[in-house]
Structure formats: structure tokens, C-alpha cells
Symmetry: C3
């Protein structure tokens, strides 16, 4: 699998609230590549969707949601930083961004939970900083910051190539409280009658979920999806022969949470590759799990 | 009062996300019993409502919400359990469920906050377990798991027998983050113009709320309903002569929270019997409080 | 600037859930004063809005939200109090309210986080108490309880005098979990096509935000608004010549949170004067910051 697209996606500066940069990249990609896709989607963008993108293929029954935003840091006062989402913070991590004085490449300092930066000059208040990408590809795995969730975005873009019926949503603010999914849910339900959704996102390697053992179907996290729907997905995964693993967690959340709590009757299920080094510059995912993720999405979007 | 229906309700396996079992039981009950009700309701079910049920009687002005789901446990990896909602956990409690290998009756183990099970075989990942019901009826009281909220459901079903105008909703996921009430609120407001709701649920015996002293009207919990509406309910309770108690709490929540936060202008009030042994297998409620609860609901649904 | 209106507003008993008193005051004020306003607004009130008020001027593009409710305390059992919102509590603060036995002026007692009152008689369960207002006006500053957010309300009322196009919303429950903004958002978006909102509220003096240095534009708090929109506001503030300060916080929240999470695509930004003594009887705001706040709102409502 050619992962150069994923490498590009991982290098785009788009923390929560600044998804516009990634959205523009995606729109250019869609314009250039969609002529080769099996079905031409209707592309929904604009003020009704803020910076989100919705692609409608054929007669959709199921939606795929992939969040564009990443975790990061906001410059506060003096050299202080406040987190965007829940970044793993260690002294020495390299952060990048820019303000009116120019490009920034500085060092993160973590001291007993207090975050700050070390840089040759003061950085403008409110400037957002993200991890500097360091792409590492091995035979079996890839490693970089922001595989969560540029890999979920990549998976959705690859899925577009053969998708006949379905909706693909690129969402915002997932890492920091959400806010775009309720808008998209309203449009999907009221305008397209869609009530099923798969969350194309990245999860954790744990004592029960192992790298290289296949895509993960999450039976629950902090939220609990409707069991009858999750069972249907597991049955379809089982019949497909694709490698998959079942996850059960008490914590963690996703765009699924906002579908769950919206005024529209959505069934949702989180399905994604597991990673090590969550929310750090060193997120690591096995290639086999990426391949299984895409295959399972292709299978499910046809069968559901 | 014949409580055999309540006894049946308490024994149904329906933790958050698996309300379908209870919903099917309720639909059978409604089909069998509604011919004897004073007014025949319109029964709303189906994919628009997920596993919830809405009964519309006459020209509704006020809705009653009773949540079907219970707290419980999900099997994680090895012998680990993660909670569904906030169960009270003690080593030795008996849990039941089933997986593909057959029925399960195992023991809960609590060790410094870590939850696990003890059973003769491994239980399938993702299996849900609930307390084994142990129904104990005395002259003045009943005791069992899941009076919260099968008693709220029971109260709503009894109310149906004489209800002329109103909506009865059986809701889902209340114990674990919610998710069904916003859907129901939209339908109630947009299709029926209903803006008033009573939460038929079970509350706590405390230093200010005593067993056997009557149904509880909650003036606030973690959420604060509109005072003018609560005052109106208290005035109606006062004129009715039915035994009631006023509750004031800083914590605790209910389906009322989701009405409060929905995009629809609902007034809501929590009204229910108090119990001891909250979220344990030994929830205890006084019969007098159950009787007062039903009487007050009958009075309020007529007067509001 | 004549601040007698603000002084009146600060003395009205209207904690979360009891906004009706303030709403009635505002409706009388609007009726009496609107004939002198540049444009006559359409006044939306009634059951669709609960106790909120919406004023629609001309062809609105942007809304201003000011919350009417204040923090306070609810009488629980015996002499216990539970907080409404997050009040700063110190033994000796004077609280006022009334119950069926008459007016109340009692003393707050704080003991290791436990709150109670000291008064010559028992106070009725559920009674709400608020800080007794003690208005102190100096040449440069004012000090009283509830400048948060009666000053935001005052700012909105002053803005009405010259407003040509826009919506002014007086909201409820902001200090305690919210609940009215989703309703208003639905109406603003669906009936008026409005998608932009300014949060007229009070923020904190910190090491980066100084009293008397101008109105505060918050770039983020616990929630993160869309950066492109915040940048547009900062650029307009810059060109206006009005004194302003930029704020960056990791915590704190406002009515903006509920716009962010609503099913409607709102851009929002918190803009308000900073105060010392937050949520205490001694909230202090500089007059220069009040003046700058009103000027910036006037400028933005014209330019956005």
C-alpha cells in the first residue's frame, strides 16, 4: 500500500479549531482524484457545515466519520502552554507552528504537569503548536505523530475509490469537546434518512488488543452503542474472513459520543486500527491493521 | 397492590444498550393489556425511536419518561469487568448473563476498585452481566435489584390504565450517559407540541427523605428545573392530599438532564419513590411510597 | 456612564431556574425604553422560549447572548446549603432570599467545603439564597456581587439603543449546566439564518489580563471556537482603535459551549470585561473596560 498520502496528511497543521487547512487539502485531493473513483459523490461544503466536508455517494444507508483535527497546544501568557485535547507531553518534544513573526520550531517543557515552551523569542498569544512530524516507515509498521486521526481520514479517502452508496464525513473538534457532529447528524438524518455510522478512528493497543492482529471493533468505550447493531457488525466481520479484534473499554470516546447524544436516532460503531504511543509524536500502527481496516470498511459499507 | 408485574420487570436482562429485551416484553404487555385501558394509545415504535417506545393518549399536554435500562457490568479481558453506569460493587454479589457457550451465573469480585468475576470458565469478551434478582416482599416493603428503574416503568404502565391525555415514553441509556431522550424530545415537541415532562424514576433515602413517608418531588439534583414549574407541581401535590416529600440534592441526575439540555423548551420534574441500597442487589422501597407515586402521577397528568 | 441601571440589575434575585424575575424586569425596561431606540425590535417571549427573551433588530446577521442567571445557594435539609453554579464561599457572607415565612437575611458558613446558613429560624427546603448586593462605585471602578453577568446584560441593553441589525438574547441556566441556549440556537438558525454569536459575559483578571486595560476577547477557554472567526474579530478590534486584550485559558466556559455543541453551525466568541473577586460578593470591574466592551460590541455588530 502506498502510504505517501498518509505521510502528507500527518504533516498538516490542523489542531482543533483550525481544521480549515486540512479541509482545503482534502478538497483539492477530492477534486483531483474523484474522477477516477467508481461513483462521483456530491460534495457538501460551506457555511452550513463550517469547515467540515460531506461526500454523498449513490443512495446512502451508512455514514463514515473521520475527524480531521489533532491534539496540540495553545500559547498562553509568557512561555506557558495549555493543551488542545489530551496530548502526551514530555520535555524535549519538538513543536511547530507560526505567528506573525514567522515560522516556529520550539521545544516542549513539561514540569510536574505545567507545560511551557523553550524558544529564542516570545510566541504570540493564542498561537497553536503541534508536534513536528517525523515519519518512520518499516516493513511492517509506520510511526509518526497524528496517525490519530490522519489514518482514519486516509482510510475514508481510500474507501471513496470504490464506494457506491454511503456518506463520508470529515469532522472537526473531536479531540476537544466536539461540536461538528451534531450539525452533520442533523443533515444526514433529515436530508438523507441515514441512521447508521462507522467511526473511522484510531484506538489503543492494550492487554486485549494487539498490534498486527487486525482491525479493532469497539464494543464499548465511555459510551455504549446499541448491542444489536454491534452484534450485526461483528457477524459481518466474522463472515468476511478479515482479521479483526474486539475491544471493551470503560473510558475513551469518539465522534460516536456525539451521535449517541444527538436528537437523531443513530446507531454507531467505532472501527479502527490500534496504535502504540497514543497522542505522542511516536504513534505506531501496523500495516496489516491498516489493510484490514480498509477491507472491513469496504465490506461493511456494502453489506450494512 | 399486585406487584407480580414489577417482579417480572426486575428479572429482565436489559442493561444500557440492551434495552430491546425489555422493550419486547413491554410491547407484548401493552398489546395484551391495553384493550382494558380507559383510552387506547397510539403506539410509536421502530427505527425512528431505536428501542424506545412512545404511547400517545388523547391530546397530550404532559409526558412521563421511565427509563428501561439498568446498571451492570461488561466483561473486558481475562476476568476483568468494567461498569455499566454506577453499580454498587461488593465481592460476593451474584451476576447473571449469557454468552455463546451458555448461561452464566458468576460471582463479582471487588478489590480496591478493580472489578472482576469468578466463574468456572472464561466469559466471552463484551458479554454483559447484571445482578441476579432476589425478590423479597414484606407487608410494607419490597426488595430486589433494579427497582431503579423497573418501578418507574411499572408506575408508567399502571398509569396507562386510566390515562386520558398524555405521552408515556420508555427510554434507554439513562444509567450511562443517555442518548435516547433527545430523540424523543424532538418528536414530542415537533409532532405533539408537548413541553412538560415528569420523570418516573427512583431516588434516594437520605437524612431529609424517609422511607414510607410518601412519594418524592425533587426540587433539584445536579440539574435545576424551572422553579415556577416545580412550584406548580408542589401546589398540586399539596391540594391532592397525597403524601409527598420534597428533595433537594446537589448531585444525581436523570432523564430530566437531557430534556434540560435539548434544543426543545421542556419543563421537567423528577417524581418518584425513594429507595435504600441504591444500585445494589438489595434496593428496598416502601409500598406506601409506590402507591403515593402512582396516585400523584394520576393527579398531575389530569391537572397539568 | 450612568450605571444606575446596572446597580438595579445587580440587586435582582434571579439564580439559575429563577430567571423569571429578571426577565420581567427586562421586559418592563424594554417596553419603557425601546421607543427611544434607533430601531424597534421584534420581541420574542413566551412558552417557546421558557423565561428567555429574544430581540430581533432589522435583518440580523449576528446574535449577542447575555445570561440572566446568577450563582447562589439552595437550602437543603436542616441548615445545609448546596451551591447553584460555582459560588466563592466564605463564612460571614450575607445571603438574602425569601420563603413563605417572610424575607431572609442570613449568614453563610463554610466549614471544610460544607456549606450552611446561620439564621434565627429554619428556612424552607428548596429556598434559593443569593449574595446581598453591596454596590460600591469609585471613580474608576464598580464593585458588587453579580457583575457576572448583570454587566453582560447591561451591555446588551445599552447596545440595543443604537443597534440596527442583530439579535439580542437574554439566556438562562448558564452558571449551572445550561439548557436554554440550544433552544435559542434552533430558533436563531432555523427562523433567522443567524450563525454568528458574541457572548456578552464577564471574565477573569489573570497574569495575562489586566484591569483597566480594555475589553477581553477570549481566544479559547475550555472550548475552542473556530480560529478563522476569532481572527476576524481580532482584526476588527485592531482596526477600531478600541482598547482590547487577548485571553487564552484552558478552563472556564460560557454560553458559547452550548452553541458549539448544538446541532446548528454557529461561530461564537466570548467578549467581555475582566473582573476581580469572581463569583464573590465583591466582584470588581474597571469602568474603562465597561466602556470598551460596549464600544467593541457596537463596532462588531456593524461590521460582522
Amino acid at each position: 500500500m502506498d502510504l505517501s498520502l498518509l505521510r502528507d496528511l500527518c504533516s498538516i497543521h490542523a489542531p482543533c479549531g483550525e481544521e480549515a487547512t486540512l479541509a482545503e487539502y482534502l478538497l483539492r485531493y477530492i477534486k483531483r482524484n474523484s474522477p477516477r473513483w467508481k461513483v462521483q459523490p456530491k460534495v457538501l461544503v460551506g457555511p452550513q457545515l463550517q469547515d467540515c466536508i460531506m461526500l454523498v455517494f449513490g443512495n446512502p444507508r451508512t455514514a463514515v466519520l473521520a475527524h480531521m483535527d489533532s491534539i496540540g497546544f495553545t500559547v498562553r501568557y509568557q512561555d506557558q502552554l495549555v493543551p488542545i485535547g489530551g496530548p502526551h507531553a514530555e520535555t524535549g518534544y519538538i513543536l511547530t507552528g507560526k505567528d506573525r513573526l514567522g515560522p516556529i520550531e520550539c521545544q516542549l517543557v513539561e514540569d510536574d504537569g505545567q507545560l511551557s515552551y523553550r524558544f529564542g523569542r516570545a510566541i504570540e498569544r493564542g498561537t497553536s503548536l503541534v508536534f513536528k512530524p517525523n515519519w518512520r516507515e518499516e516493513e511492517d509498521s509506520i510511526q509518526c505523530c497524528y496517525l490519530d486521526n490522519r489514518l482514519g481520514v486516509f482510510n475514508a479517502l481510500k474507501l471513496c475509490e470504490t464506494l457506491e452508496n454511503g456518506i463520508i464525513c470529515f469532522t472537526a473538534w473531536e479531540e476537544h469537546g466536539g461540536g461538528s457532529v451534531p450539525i452533520l447528524a442533523r443533515i444526514m438524518y433529515e436530508e438523507y434518512g441515514v441512521q447508521q455510522a462507522l467511526i473511522s478512528d484510531i484506538t489503543w493497543v492494550t492487554e486485549g488488543v494487539h498490534p498486527g492482529k487486525g482491525v479493532v471493533i469497539s464494543m464499548r468505550d465511555r459510551n455504549i452503542p446499541r448491542r444489536s447493531w454491534v452484534n450485526r457488525i461483528i457477524a459481518l466481520a466474522q463472515e468476511s474472513g478479515i482479521d479483526y479484534q474486539l475491544e471493551v473499554e470503560g473510558g475513551g470516546s469518539s465522534d460516536g459520543r456525539e451521535l449517541q447524544q444527538s436528537p437523531y436516532p443513530f446507531d454507531w460503531c467505532f472501527i479502527g486500527a490500534p496504535e502504540e504511543g497514543v497522542h505522542s509524536p511516536d504513534e505506531l500502527v501496523h500495516k496489516h491493521d491498516i489493510a484490514c481496516m480498509l477491507q472491513l470498511y469496504q465490506h461493511l459499507m456494502e453489506k450494512l
